[in-house]
Symmetry: C2
Amino acid sequence: MTGSIRRAKAEQTVLALKAAARRLFAERGYLNTKITDILAEAGRSAGVFYDHFASKEELLAALIADFRADAAERAAAMDCAADEHDLSDRAQLRAHIEVFWHTYTAHLPVMVAMFQASMVDGELTAGFGEWLNTTMLHQHLEQLDKRGVHLAGDPALLASAVSSMLLQFAYVWLATGGRAPGGTTARSAPSADEAIDMLTSLVHNGIVAH
Amino acid sequence: MTGSIRRAKAEQTVLALKAAARRLFAERGYLNTKITDILAEAGRSAGVFYDHFASKEELLAALIADFRADAAERAAAMDCAADEHDLSDRAQLRAHIEVFWHTYTAHLPVMVAMFQASMVDGELTAGFGEWLNTTMLHQHLEQLDKRGVHLAGDPALLASAVSSMLLQFAYVWLATGGRAPGGTTARSAPSADEAIDMLTSLVHNGIVAH
DNA sequence: GTCTATATGGGGATAGAC
DNA sequence: GTCTATCCCCATATAGAC
């Protein structure tokens, strides 16, 4: 049964490489991380990487798959179908944003990596915000629209704007280590809850026409 | 007077390099543009680049300087001091967003480059949105706050969120060639004016508490 | 499955002729 | 000032021993 032992060891190595990659992506970013660095961080030596992944992109794809699985689970944990939600209800909206925030936080390395990879790839640029944009926002907004709520603009545009804000804001906030943005205000650093509240208010008031 | 001739030729080369860089940044992005490419695009040969710039970053710095000059001019053209503005007035807010949009459009290559460079650099990540964030937004929001307007959150956080939205939305919109985001809606592509209207409504309603 | 050693190539950067 | 030629570093990727 040496076969299964070998497989187990390989599995261990794959996990070690993924873990190392996540650490480095969070620390220095995806583009600045060389395959060599990942190997070193994982305590493995040169050739090993290619025994498990064809390229750095493929590793990222694996991480994204892991992320998607977890994101789907978190989304499902919010129970019920999209048409039962009502984003014009503040509490529900906040719950959505909170899920987004915690998912983003939990997968920060992958988020950073996707973000940076999309800068270079072009193919990914358009498709990047989709898990958020289409999955969570666009449909909900269409729903509201059909339900007769007078929105601030075209649902697709609105969804794009809101997801842009959430993604970029979270990126700046988290990827820079939670330091308060702006910086001129001499206050104690705002908490994540404060940020989520602010985002909730902004979106809640912003998406409907007044 | 060969000295001045040489200087003039050098100046020409610098301009040619900058122009070539702008073209390529817009076309394939900053990170994907190699120094070699810029030289080829400018029709110059290998060594020339380093006679004028120490690195690609330095070239970008020069482009940013050009941009800042123009941006300052556009901002000044909106006349008057910051404390005379009132972002809670929809027309004034729209004018601000319009200036941002047109400035962004006019300097798309530099915007793309700054954006991408800041994503990778980390040093720049925080500092990137500042011309917009601090110059235009943060101060205005502080003003409103002091004037007793009840904002949706901490001015610094709000400013960061709004600038995040504007930058990311414009990036996705413009850098991907103005293709409509989302894409599932089978409508004719929305116009820039439509986008600006939407952003105006979103911000206008979003920043004040209701 | 994992290691060491090494081949390959792209792109940054410089030297020196013109 | 600009060109050609070249160096060199570093990351990717493979070969083959263990």
